[in-house]
């Protein structure tokens, strides 16, 4: 069995707001295996960013972690001292942020910015750190990196800046790389280049990656496993194949249906009707109940536990309960499942 680098258990997070306490993350558990890429998907506001920022202990002023542990190298990140945390950040766990246009210090040249983690974590001399920064910048594909070390962020394009941010993140060989929508702010061709770069780097340095994205195409391309979040909870997780071809939670169905695909040649995009519930008073039952065409009565009353679909695949929906009536998923999902079955049989032969 693969070794876990990161193990998040029962994480719950509240935000104090003027309207009341927002229960933004509710009992989230997941783990990250060594060398794997885990994609975190879900609608806007489902709590993806908050979850990963908590792994880095980057909390907002009004944020409280009410429950949970994050096990990393045998210790609970949530209990580390400030000083220990500074060591972990950027050293063992690094982050790539969403908007490369705003995530570099406009008044510091890129050489110094990229070298900073080495200076902080390895206590490396400036000269040596800069030397290594130049190498990494070359590695991530900045042309003439050596000559451009003294240039400032505004002298680079968006795609180049994201490469610089990536260089900054990988320079100290992190065990875990957190990428929160690293390509959302870029245009399509550049997106593809950055995804390719991340894939290459992953193969080369063997980092484990948590990858947040809205783009299911990217998930299929880069991820090994997927966790689907809805309203502050994980509702389903499994391998990419599990989620794409054998999805069980109606929310995952909706999500997959809203994904433009070439093979299914559907000419319209289905968005999931309705909006997520207000998390100041989260619903007693399944948070997706109100928007769920396939909802059962019990969904309204009781939170569904995780049901095991396979060794790798779990989903939190009452539909998987033995007593539940059989429902037929939407046609598009049936097609996916049929294909999944076919493959499974092919594998057995």
């Amino acid at each position: 069995m693969a070794q876990k680098v990161l193990d998040v258990k029962d994480l719950s997070i509240d935000f104090d707001t003027l309207n009341g306490t927002v229960k933004a993350i509710r009992d989230v558990s997941f783990h990250l295996d060594k060398g794997e890429t885990l994609a975190l998907v879900g609608e806007s506001g489902s709590g993806k960013s908050i979850t990963v920022r908590t792994i880095m202990r980057l909390l907002a002023d009004n944020e409280t972690i009410t429950n949970g542990t994050i096990d990393f190298e045998g210790k609970d990140i949530l209990k580390e001292s400030k000083k220990e945390m500074d060591k972990i950040r950027g050293g063992k766990i690094a982050m790539i942020s969403q908007d490369p246009m705003t995530s570099l210090d406009p008044t510091m040249n890129i050489g110094n910015q990229v070298a900073e983690p080495l200076r902080v974590h390895e206590g490396m001399s400036k000269h040596k750190a800069l030397e290594q920064a130049a190498e990494v910048l070359e590695e991530v594909g900045i042309p003439n990196a050596r000559e451009r070390m003294r240039d400032y962020p505004h002298q680079f394009s968006g795609g180049q800046r994201q490469r610089i941010v990536i260089a900054m993140a990988i320079i100290d060989n992190p065990d875990v790389l957190i990428a929160d929508e690293p390509t959302t702010a870029l245009d399509v061709t550049v997106q593809a280049q950055i995804i390719k770069l991340l894939k290459d780097l992953k193969d080369k340095i063997g980092t484990s990656i948590i990858f947040i994205t809205h783009d299911l195409g990217v998930v299929a391309n880069i991820a090994d496993r997927v966790a689907v979040m809805y309203a502050g909870k994980i509702v389903e997780y499994g391998t990419v194949d599990d989620i794409f071809y054998n999805p069980q939670h109606p929310y995952t169905w909706g999500l997959l249906d809203s994904m433009p695909t070439l093979s299914m040649n559907s000419d319209r995009l289905n968005t999931i009707p309705g909006t997520p519930p207000n998390l100041i008073n989260p619903p007693k039952g399944d948070a997706f109940y109100a928007r769920n065409k396939y909802a059962l009565k019990i969904d309204h009353e009781k939170q569904p536990p995780f049901f095991k679909v396979s060794d790798t695949h779990y989903a939190a929906t009452w539909l998987l309960d033995k007593r539940a009536p059989k429902v037929t998923p939407p046609e598009s999902i049936q097609k996916r499942q049929a294909e999944f079955k076919k493959r499974g049989e092919a594998d057995h032969d």
């Binding site: 942020s97 210090d105 008044t107 941010v165």
Partner: protein, 310 residues
């Protein structure tokens, strides 16, 4: 950059020219005449004096003569101070003014920056509220009121500092404080706003994510980024110190050019008023120019112009 500076210097000269012209004509409409004992003078005596000072010539000629002299760095001679050249008067009295002006500038900006930075770092705590309170006081109390208050408490009551005597460094402390309060408050407010924004920015978050300690994120990233926009208010700060000094010098009997300016206005000493106005304007436009150039040097986004590729 050089082209930019040359262009700016051209505008600077143009500005001074306009200031000189406007003041020249405005001043001619000041009520009264330069002669303190006008009533006792015979018309013939006045005529002689007017001739002596060139005041009988047509306005236009007076203007041309004045501007001609100005080009040669000659600001004319004072009416009241024993016919001393105005340039000499300025040179003689500039010392104390420069001293308190510079001191006020330094105290105002350094303390203002510190206060603003601390307020931003401790946002929404009592420290922040305290800083806001100080800023509001500093902005709303005019410098002359503050001057009188300081004079009364620390000069007269407590006798820590001289009341109105220009002697040594300790005489400069109260006037410096009186002048520094407004710029200090302004800088603090501005700095706080900037720094709150910066501390909230993505690159500060990413700096933390890189492992920078809280202290290092502030010293290496947040301070410089917040300071750059603060540089822009140094110009207005200089203005408030200059105008404040007119009254503050008077209150503390400081023999500086601010005091002299007030005297020259009270006595219709045209050449001195003109000379000082032009001198003040000159100082001001030079400060603004220097600030703009500094801004360009410190902010890489401006320094490099559009030389980078996008």
């Amino acid at each position: 950059m050089t082209k930019y500076i040359i262009r700016r210097i051209f505008y600077l000269i143009l500005t001074l020219f306009i200031v000189a012209s406007v003041t020249f004509f405005l001043m001619k409409f000041l009520p009264g005449t330069p002669y303190s004992n006008q009533a006792k003078l015979q018309p013939s005596q006045i005529a002689i004096m007017n001739q002596k000072y060139g005041l009988n010539k047509p306005l236009w000629d007076q203007y041309l003569i004045y501007m001609g002299n100005l080009l040669h760095g000659n600001l004319g001679t004072s009416f009241q101070f024993n016919n001393q050249p105005v340039t000499q008067l300025i040179a003689h009295d500039i010392g104390p003014s420069m001293q308190i002006g510079t001191q006020a500038m330094i105290v105002g900006s350094v303390l203002g920056i510190l206060l603003g930075a601390v307020a931003a770092i401790k946002k929404n705590t009592w420290v922040d509220s305290g800083a806001t309170f100080i800023s509001i006081l500093g902005i709303s109390i005019p410098s002359f009121v503050l001057a009188v208050l300081l004079q009364y408490y620390f000069g007269y009551k407590l006798q820590w500092f001289p009341v109105a005597l220009w002697q040594n460094f300790s005489s400069s402390i109260l006037p410096t404080l009186a002048l520094a309060a407004f710029p200090l408050a302004n800088v603090a407010r501005f700095m706080r706003t900037e720094m709150v924004d910066v501390l909230d920015s993505d690159y500060i978050e990413l700096a933390k994510a890189k492992g920078d300690s809280e202290r290092k994120t502030i010293t290496h990233h947040a301070l410089r980024n917040s300071l750059i926009p603060v540089i822009t208010i140094v110009g207005p700060m200089a203005v408030s110190i200059m105008t404040g000094s007119l009254v503050v010098e008077n209150i503390f009997s400081i023999p500086g050019i601010g005091n002299q300016f007030v005297q020259s206005i009270l006595t219709n000493d045209y050449p001195t008023i003109m000379g000082l106005t032009i001198f003040y304007s000159f100082l001001l436009v030079v400060i603004i120019l220097v600030v703009d150039i500094l801004y360009g040097i410190i902010d890489p986004r401006i320094r490099l112009g559009n030389g980078g590729k996008e």
